[in-house]
Every structure is written in structure tokens, then in C-alpha cells.
């Protein structure tokens, strides 16, 4: 059977460069080395304010990464269960998972953040970081669930039939036959979501979480160096997402090779 592979690569993450896409690859190089050069130039030639600024936002970068990694981990778990729920034959589970996806996707992330932090804060006292992580993973869990569902549904029907005829039950089929294959198809979009999530963590700055953007805002509004601050913040975000998109691209290529052999 000829390999059928239709990939529509549209996401809110960064564009993932692969070896096949020369245009994008060189664009990646230009953007990445350009950003690094700009950063070096600013910091070396104008240490005031850029070097001070870089020192000031350092812990913000750490917070941004903490929120990103913790949220992506939780979102993956949540997404796996949601995805399984979405393809489940159990009507109740299916309905619960679908409703969760529908509700979360219908509410802007910014509103969700306000809701979990300030509205629910009256009843449950979660620390700010945890509130941010919960909100981010709650939102991205729904998106991740859709990725997982698509991954599972992309597996040929024949696989399931073969597995059932070999005497596997439903759970075994899912665990030993479908999921391992689905994992391969869903990894690239998960990488994409990861990058999108990293960018969206900038929204948690409204929760008084001292992330990269908030540190920048604090610096800007005290020093009045708005242009300098936001230039640097943008460059730092760009460098981080470009590195990540390269990593995801490399991973995707490796996985691709693995599938073909």
C-alpha cells in the first residue's frame, strides 16, 4: 500500500524547519543568527540598559520555562485522557471529554487565567505559579486532547481489526497496537503545541507571576526605556522559540526516518 501522508501544517506554534523545506530552513537561519547577533550587539555595545535589563529579566526566563515545562507535562497527561475519552465508545466518558474540549476551546486563555486566579481564588487559595500552571494545562489539555484524538483516528482501521482478530481486547489493542503508532504521528504537533504554549505563558504576567514579560514590564515602567525593553524581550522570546522549533524539527526528522525503515 502506498504511504498516504497528508500533512496540513497549520498551527499557532512556530514554523518547524525540516531539511526538505529549504526556504524555511534558511529563513530559520536568518532569523536565529540575526536575533543572536542583535542580542550580542545590544548587550556589548549598549550595556546600559541592555546588560542591566538582561540581568533583571534573568529570573523571568526561568519562571517562563518552569511554567512551560510543568504545564506541558500536565497538559500531556490531561490530553491523553481527553483524547482517549473523545474516541471512547462509552457515551458518558465521550460526552464528558467532548464537553471539556468544547468549553475550554470556547473561552480565551486570558479569560481562563483571570477566572482560575481571581474568580476561583475566592474559594481555593492556590499559589500564583500553581494557578498559572493549572490554567495553562487546563487549556492546553483540551488542544492536546484533539491532537491525541486525531493521532488515534489516523491509524488505519485494519490495525484495529487485525489486533482484535488476534484476540486482543479493546484496552490491549489501544495500548499495544494503536497508541504506540499514534505516538509517532502526534509527536510533531505536540512539539508545536509546546512552542505555542511557551509563547502563551507571556499571558500569565497578568497574574502577577514574574515571568519574562512581567519582568520586562517592570523594568520598562520604572526606567521609561520602553523601546529598549520590549526590543530585548522580543529578541529573547524569538531566540527561545527558534531553538525549540529547531529541536522539534530535528526530532520530527528522526521519527520520520524511523517510520520508513
Amino acid at each position: 500500500m502506498p504511504e498516504q501522508k497528508v500533512v496540513i501544517d497549520v498551527g499557532d506554534g512556530a514554523a518547524i524547519p525540516t531539511k526538505k523545506d529549504h526556504g524555511l530552513l534558511s529563513a530559520w537561519r536568518i532569523a536565529f543568527f540575526g536575533a543572536v547577533l542583535v542580542l550580542l550587539y545590544l548587550v556589548i555595545v549598549h550595556p546600559d540598559p541592555y546588560w542591566n535589563l538582561l540581568k533583571f529579566i534573568r529570573d523571568g526566563v526561568v519562571v517562563t520555562f518552569e511554567v512551560t515545562f510543568a504545564s506541558i507535562g500536565l497538559a500531556l497527561v490531561l490530553g491523553l485522557f481527553t483524547g482517549l475519552g473523545r474516541v471512547s465508545h462509552n457515551r458518558f466518558i465521550n460526552l464528558a471529554a467532548s464537553t471539556y474540549v468544547e468549553v475550554v476551546r470556547g473561552i480565551p486563555l486570558l479569560v481562563q487565567l483571570f477566572y482560575i486566579y481571581y474568580a476561583l481564588g475566592q474559594f481555593v487559595r492556590v499559589p500564583d505559579m500553581l494557578a498559572a500552571i493549572i490554567a495553562m494545562s487546563f487549556c492546553y489539555g483540551a488542544y492536546m486532547g484533539e491532537v491525541v484524538r486525531a493521532g488515534i483516528e489516523a491509524i488505519d482501521k485494519g490495525q484495529r481489526e487485525a489486533s482484535v482478530s488476534l484476540g486482543f481486547n479493546e484496552v490491549q489493542t489501544m495500548r499495544y497496537v494503536i497508541l504506540p503508532q499514534a505516538l509517532r504521528t502526534i509527536l510533531p504537533p505536540v512539539g508545536n503545541e509546546f512552542i505555542a504554549l511557551l509563547k502563551d505563558t507571556s499571558l500569565v504576567s497578568i497574574l502577577a507571576v514574574s515571568d519574562l514579560l512581567r519582568r520586562g514590564r517592570e523594568f520598562a515602567s520604572e526606567s521609561f526605556a520602553y523601546f529598549e525593553t520590549y526590543t530585548l524581550i522580543a529578541v529573547v522570546y524569538l531566540i527561545i522559540t527558534l531553538i525549540l522549533s529547531k529541536l522539534v524539527g530535528t526530532m520530527e526528522e528522526r521519527m520520520g526516518n524511523h517510520v520508513r525503515h
Binding site: 481571581y118 481564588g121 514590564r217 515602567s221 521609561f224
Partner: protein, 249 residues
């Protein structure tokens, strides 16, 4: 006949010209309307408060029409710099650092920093909150006051109301903000009056005043504003307004 027509035409022109000359200049003021009772949005979605009424009366004295635009605090100075509005009346304390970036009017209101804590807290000064998180609105003199005490962790919010809400919800140990604002939350707000109190009103080394900020070098607007402030001071209007919006304490 022709002469008469010309005369009437000339008269009309003069009248029209006179009316035009009397058209007052419009000065646009930016305000972050999240700072009750100084400037806030009332139930009818109008920007109101001490500052708003003060500036409106100033306009009557000095001869200008004020227009108010609501702007988020974080970035309010950037907007002045790029000319989105002529002035800022938003409880801006006059500080040396800010004076370098913009010009200030004569001071129009004296302010002190107040520390709000939960009602059952034994704290009486900021220094007792070492190692704890204390909230304030981003880049306000409240933030600066917190950062002056070593060991107290400053947590900044977009709006002071969010900081007060977080204190109410028990996430932070205190909030530092201007005393009229603190008094408004603690004494007049039904929700917070039951749970929060003012633990201390801090004396800073130098007296702190609000001023109206204009872009550096905008003398035309600054002169009009200063004229208004002087007129209100002479009439005692500022004290009347203070009693009306803040109350005598």
C-alpha cells in the same frame, strides 16, 4: 445697498471670528481609572473621581476643555511620550526619576504610602513583613516603598484592585498604595472593610505629591495647567474637593 450688504457680511465675519476665538483649547488627559477615589469608573461607566473633578474645574478657571481617556497604568508614560495625549492626571507622584522623563505641574495633592494588611494581622510596619510577599501596582511609589525595605518580596500587579483582592484571598501578606486609595478600599468598600485594615501610614523622607505630567518641553499645556492649579488653590477648591471625595480624617 451694496455697502450695507458688505457691512453686514463684515459684521457676520467678526461674530464668527469672535466665536472661533472663544473656542477653548482641548487638552487630552490620560488616566488609569482603577485608583478609587482619585480616578475610577463609576456605575455609569464614566471616568470620575477627585482628579477628574479637579481637572474639570481647573479647565473652567484656566480656560481649556479637558478630555479624559482611560489608559492602563503600565504604559501610560509611553503614551505621553509618543503624543497619544497631552497630559497624565492619574495620581502620578512627582519623583526625581520621573522628572527626568517628563515635566510636572505644580503639586496638587499630598500623599503618603499606606500598608494594608488583614484585620487579624499583628503587623504594624512594613519591616515586619520580611520574607513575605507584599503587593502593589506595578511601578508605583508603593512598589518603590516595598523595595526600599530589604528582605520584603515585592509582587507587582497591573491594578491595585487586583493586589487588594489577592490580599483578601490570602495569597500575599500586605499591599502598599497611596493613602486615599487604601482608605477607600478599607473603609468604604463593603467587602474589604470586614477583612482588611490599614496597619501603617509610612512617612517617607521627603513629602510625596501628585503632579500632572506633560511631555518634556510642552510649556503651552503646562502653563495652562499650572494656571488652573493656582486658581483652585487660591479659591480653596482643592480642600473642598478633598473633603468631598476623600473625607476629613
Amino acid at each position: 445697498m451694496k455697502k450695507a450688504m458688505l457691512c453686514i457680511f463684515g459684521l457676520l465675519l467678526m461674530v464668527a471670528g469672535g466665536a472661533l476665538a472663544e473656542e477653548l483649547p482641548v487638552i487630552t488627559f490620560a488616566t488609569d481609572a482603577t485608583w478609587p477615589p482619585m480616578e475610577f469608573v463609576d456605575a455609569n461607566k464614566n471616568v470620575t473621581g477627585f482628579s477628574i473633578e479637579y481637572v474639570t474645574r481647573m479647565g473652567r478657571e484656566a480656560g481649556f476643555t479637558p478630555k479624559f481617556v482611560a489608559v492602563a497604568w503600565d504604559g501610560i508614560f509611553a503614551g505621553l511620550d509618543v503624543g497619544k495625549y497631552d497630559a497624565i492626571v492619574s495620581s502620578v507622584s512627582i519623583t526625581e526619576k520621573r522628572k527626568k522623563a517628563m515635566d510636572f505641574s505644580e503639586p496638587y495633592f499630598q500623599v503618603r504610602q499606606a500598608l494594608i494588611v488583614p484585620k487579624d494581622s499583628p503587623v504594624t510596619s512594613l519591616a515586619e513583613l520580611v520574607g513575605k510577599e507584599v503587593g502593589s501596582q506595578i511601578s508605583t511609589t508603593g512598589t518603590f516603598a516595598i523595595k526600599e525595605v530589604p528582605g520584603v518580596i515585592a509582587k507587582t500587579y497591573d491594578e491595585v484592585g487586583l493586589a487588594v483582592e489577592d490580599l483578601h484571598n490570602g495569597r500575599i501578606a500586605g499591599v502598599v498604595c497611596d493613602d486615599p486609595v487604601a482608605a477607600n478600599y478599607v473603609l468604604q468598600n463593603e467587602k474589604y472593610a470586614k477583612t482588611l485594615k490599614i496597619a501603617a501610614v509610612m512617612q517617607s523622607k521627603e513629602a510625596e505629591f501628585y503632579g500632572i505630567a506633560v511631555k518634556k518641553g510642552n510649556k503651552k499645556v503646562l502653563d495652562l495647567i499650572n494656571k488652573g492649579i493656582a486658581a483652585l488653590k487660591a479659591k480653596g477648591t482643592d480642600i473642598k474637593l478633598r473633603d468631598k471625595w476623600i473625607g476629613g480624617n
